[in-house]
């Protein structure tokens, strides 16, 4: 199976509570919190599409879309 490639992260700013789980536990440090304490993607090129951010977000606020 070919490695999945990132298309984009979908972030729901209304649902994100800025808990930092996805930011701190991303193995590649792709994410950060912005000045409003909402998640933002700072290093998309490093994303390995493991989806752990999506699976561990308690608030369904981040989704990882990969290229087909």
């Amino acid at each position: 199976m070919a490695k999945p490639k990132l298309k984009q992260h979908h972030i729901n700013r209304d649902w994100c509570k800025g808990c930092g789980i996805c930011v701190e536990l991303c193995p590649k440090k792709v994410l950060a919190l912005d000045e409003q304490d909402k998640v933002t993607v700072v290093r998309p090129q490093d994303c390995i599409c493991c989806r752990l951010c999506e699976l561990r977000c308690p608030d369904f606020a981040i989704e990882v879309e990969t290229q087909e």
Binding site: C19, G20, D59, F60
Partner: protein, 268 residues
Amino acid sequence: MAVKDYLRERFLPHLWCPGCGHGEVLGGLVRAIEQLGLSKNEIVMVSGIGCSSRISGYVDFHTLHTIHGRALAFATGVKIARPELKLIVPMGDGDALAIGGNHFIHAARRNLDMTALVMNNRIYGMTGGQFSPLSGEDVSATTAPYKTIDRGFDVVELAKAAGATFVARSTTFHVQQMTDIIAKAIRHKGFSVVEVLSQCPTYFGRKNKIGDAADMITWFKDHTTPIGSKAKQEDPGLIERGIFVEKQEPEYCEEYEKVVARAKGRRS
């Protein structure tokens, strides 16, 4: 069906605090149900009272939000009346094993076909951080400013001894394993107990100075190990995770059907 189709999106964002592990359990549960391809109409979720019990408000199944500690009793009634439905009973540690301890052991003893999900944050989150029967020793809580001396229950050992036919444990760090185990528990015919170690950053984390939600989740990584691992032999203090029991025993509703048949036979 997509994961979000199982949620009542109109009630999101949910009321749980930032970083609360209960949201991760909700995610694991709906992903498990999505993997199993169940329809919303064949599932009944019954919960009691607690932050954890609020989970029933967010899922688009048949849901009953009942009273503290008695979710399993209500679920028993639903299951006996409609045995074809899938019953899922999420409970907090206090809900399941303090006030609800008796319902818990007797539901396990009967081997009713349902899934009991213990969302164990080792504290009473909803009421302000009192210690619970799962806090264990040496824990700070609102009701234990000088730390607890009570030993905690081991949910897995308790469920095994009480007769549950599927018993497993996972954590909010191990989200893929958690989802996989919940799916297997739902598929299992008989009483399934799944303990998920979950974080309450607001009370347990703050009182015990563990750090933020991510630090608490990392604690689960560092303090748990797969069942029977070499690490466990070297450090017996590690908490095991995985499936401890998976066996077939007579299921209560099916046995009850036989009683009904016997009674009808005698009357005719």
